[in-house]
């Protein structure tokens, strides 16, 4: 199993970081987040399509770059750092991984190339975003693949061309494909805290779905792990950006005739924060390596998701607090990262849920 990043992976990080710095500055994020679509289609085509990020983890045979969870994590981390707006998480991380892990050979060959090239925007419909054990409670499939039910929050459904749906059929959970515009499919955008990640309610009223795979418990757990690990990376990028800008601010802001960063209460808070972020970052990178190698602790992704969420929220809280009044304004950028941190903290399971999931894997259910 890998323990450090390879030179190629380091290079990937540098290239992605540079492109995002260029294409996704805070001013652009603000502009995009205020639109209904939520992102700039041309920029997404360039990064997701031309640069190959939408298919970074997709096998080459299916039109992707042939990377894995580690490469996916690197991209997610850099996107979290810049708060990139675009359907990367919905399409690449969620729909892409669902197809890779659970779709049959023929469906993978047919559907993945579009997702990998960025020409098709996918999303994954899960009717429970708290824990894998809740999935399939609402959206049902008949034996002929007719879908009914509601998923309360689906990431980027408002722009999706392809809905990959996990639904409960009589034989168990199955994976279904539905194209946008299908009859009986209703999408209602919801009001969200984090404007950089759009959510919609998706309702199926006897929609014709195509059965493309079975989702047993193990597959769903692995899919959940892959998504949680990628999200943990995103949060680490977010946390580090919050942390770095906050530390810099304390060096520049003067009160009582000295920089506020010379006050020990702030220094010690920053030192503790660094430790929390470093530990979470190590767990996060480890989780991707475990998933890539199929080795290590089976609960590595849950450790990463729990630790990264807590660290990211600590960084977000400090980011506001250490800026004082200006930190609480709409005009200052800190709240954008704060809100992403809050959203990511609870998407795919709160830290407490992941810790319980971890303990269940380690010691069995309570």
């Amino acid at each position: 199993m890998q323990t450090e990043f390879s030179n190629e992976q380091q290079l990937l990080r540098d290239v992605v970081a540079r492109a995002l710095r260029d294409k996704s500055p805070p001013a652009a994020v603000r502009e995009w987040m205020a639109t209904d679509r939520g992102y700039d289609a041309a920029v997404w085509r360039e990064l997701g399509g031309d640069a190959g990020l939408a298919g970074i983890h997709v096998p080459e045979a299916c039109g992707g770059a042939g990377g894995g969870p580690v490469e996916l994590g690197i991209v997610a981390e850099e996107m979290g750092r810049t708060l990139f707006c675009g359907p990367f998480f919905a399409s690449a991380v969620m729909a892409g991984n669902a197809l890779i892990e659970a779709a049959e050979e023929s469906a993978r060959a047919e559907l993945l190339p579009g997702v990998a090239s960025g020409s098709v925007t996918g999303t994954l419909v899960l009717d429970d975003l708290d824990s894998p054990s809740g999935v399939g409670g609402s959206v049902r499939a008949t034996d002929r693949g007719r879908l009914s039910g509601t998923a309360a929050m689906v990431v980027d459904a408002h722009v999706a061309d392809l809905f990959v749906v996990v639904a409960r059929a009589s034989a168990g959970l199955g994976l279904y494909a539905v194209e946008s515009g299908a009859e009986g499919l209703e999408i209602e955008p919801r009001q969200v805290v984090d404007l950089t990640r759009k959510l919609s309610r998706v309702t199926f009223a006897d929609v014709a779905g195509r059965a493309i795979g079975e989702v047993d418990g193990e597959t769903l757990d692995r899919l959940w792990d892959l998504m949680s690990s990628a999200l943990a990376h995103e949060m680490i990028g977010c946390a580090r950006r919050l942390f770095e800008t906050t530390v810099n601010y304390t060096k520049e802001r003067f009160q009582f005739g000295r920089p506020i960063g010379s006050f020990q209460a702030l220094k010690h808070r920053c030192a503790d924060l660094l430790l929390e972020i470093e530990i979470a970052r190590a767990l996060t990178h480890h989780s991707a390596r475990c998933l890539a190698a199929g080795e290590g602790e089976p609960y590595a992704a849950s450790m990463a998701k729990a630790a990264a969420a807590d660290a990211c929220m600590s960084a977000a809280r400090a980011g506001i607090q250490l800026r004082g009044g200006i930190g609480f304004t709409w005009e200052n950028d800190t709240h954008l990262w704060f809100k992403r941190a809050k959203g990511s903290e609870v998407l795919l399971g709160t830290p407490a849920i992941h810790r319980e999931r971890m303990m269940t894997m380690l010691e069995g259910a309570a």
Partner: protein, 414 residues
């Protein structure tokens, strides 16, 4: 050298030299001459310039063959690393050898009643009289000083310059009339540390290390080794099970004396290894609140290990972040120990009122609860580590100081 090649070479050498009927010191002399006593040391000084990983291979072969290694327990390591880094060739020649053979044990004479965190505020005096340094003053919290042969001593040689500049670093012979060590009892009942009184104690000029007035620099070298030791685990390498042969008896006796002050050290780290067995045994493993806290502990413990491994890898690749990595690791060790102590308390419940053989894990859990407070004090407090991290890693501005100018004018403890 590849691990296989090392393995072959050291095995062949042991085949020819290792015997259980040699006296301990004699064996260690042979070990030294063979160059296998401290393979990570430089070639001129008994070593082979090995990396840590290469050294581990050698240690592994020693363990497999039940071979007694060079002496390594306790503050000896601080002494040898400091002397290697800052000592003269003459000092290296005189002191390194008996450290490896186990003839000399050492202690660290840094803290004083009036200055702990503020180590550079120390006031023990060293004055040159008739070509000898005469030492007067008191040290405190000095682990193993009651059986040490030598001490790493910092003392003030000039009171008229700013405090960091007037300090010198000495290698003090503890076996002399002017030095008295009195054991102190700790809150966990053990007596590992001492107070040390120096009354006209003598140090010869050749035992000043790093030059007069340069003691602060040498002390920082010692401290950075000490911090790194907290994040890794320094342990006496007791051999598995009883072994037959005269050399083993001598070795076990050496270990018994040298490790006695440290029997509680694993407890001050929180005994994370006992958490799951205890939780299963008591049924606390089924309590949702306890499960949450155990999971947090596992995340901290695993994450800190991964982070320190990767810092170590980056360091080997040439990054220069030794001191901060030590401080981050030391702070992590405190956080882990406190969380472990918290979890042990949750698991034990009211039984946490009990102590000794009558209590959980033969008293080990009780010892954890009253030993963990030491880890955030010894070797530089958590607050000091946070100062170092914020100033040296994060580049946050230093606070305003009230201790500049000549040492004699600074406000101090009475």
């Amino acid at each position: 050298m590849t691990p296989d090649r090392i393995r072959r070479e050291v095995s062949a050498w042991l085949e020819a030299n290792w015997r259980v009927d040699r006296p301990l010191i004699e064996w260690r002399e042979i070990l030294l001459e063979g160059g296998w006593a401290a393979p990570h040391w430089p070639e001129e000084w008994y070593g082979r310039g090995f990396t840590l990983d290469q050294t581990m291979v050698v240690a592994e072969v020693f363990r497999e063959k039940d071979v007694v290694p060079a002496a390594q327990v306790g503050p000896r390591g601080l002494a040898s690393e400091t002397i290697l880094a800052c000592g003269s060739d003459d000092q290296k020649r005189r002191f390194l050898r008996p450290i490896l053979t186990g003839e000399h044990t050492w202690c660290q004479l840094f803290s004083e009643p009036g200055s702990g965190s503020d180590l550079a505020g120390l006031s023990t005096r060293a004055e040159l009289e008739d070509g000898k340094w005469i030492i007067n003053g008191q040290k405190v919290w000095n682990t193993s000083a009651h059986h040490a042969d030598f001490g790493l001593l910092v003392a003030r040689t000039d009171r008229d310059v700013p405090k960091h500049q007037g300090i010198s670093y000495f290698l003090l012979d503890m076996r002399q009339p002017g030095v008295e060590a009195r054991p102190l009892r700790q809150m966990n009942g053990h007596q590992s540390f001492n107070e040390v009184f120096m009354t006209n104690a003598v140090v010869l000029p050749e035992d000043l290390i790093g030059g007069e007035g340069n003691g602060w620099h040498v002390a920082k070298t010692t401290l950075s080794f000490e911090r790194r030791g907290f994040s890794r685990r320094v342990r006496g390498s007791s051999l598995d099970g009883p072994k037959q042969g005269p050399i083993y008896a001598e070795y076990e006796e050496e270990l018994r004396i040298a490790t006695e002050p440290y029997t509680w050290y694993p407890q001050r780290e929180g005994r994370v290894d006992l958490v799951l067995p205890r939780a299963r045994e008591t049924g606390a493993i089924n309590d949702p609140a306890t499960r949450q806290e155990i999971a947090k502990l596992i995340c901290l413990h695993t994450g800190a290990r991964l982070a320190s491994d990767s810092a170590e890898a980056r360091r080997k690749a040439g990054a220069t972040e030794i001191i901060p990595a030590g401080s981050i690791g030391k702070l992590a060790a405190s956080v882990i120990a406190r969380q472990a102590s918290h979890v042990h308390t949750m698991i034990s419940g009211a039984d946490a009122m009990l102590s000794g053989p009558d209590s959980a894990a033969d008293g080990i859990v009780a010892e954890v609860l009253v030993s963990v407070p030491a880890i955030s004090i010894a070797g530089g407090t958590d607050e000091i580590q946070r100062n170092i991290i914020s100033e040296r890693v994060l580049g946050m501005p230093k606070g305003y100081r009230a201790d500049q100018g000549p040492f004699r004018d600074i406000k101090r403890n009475a």
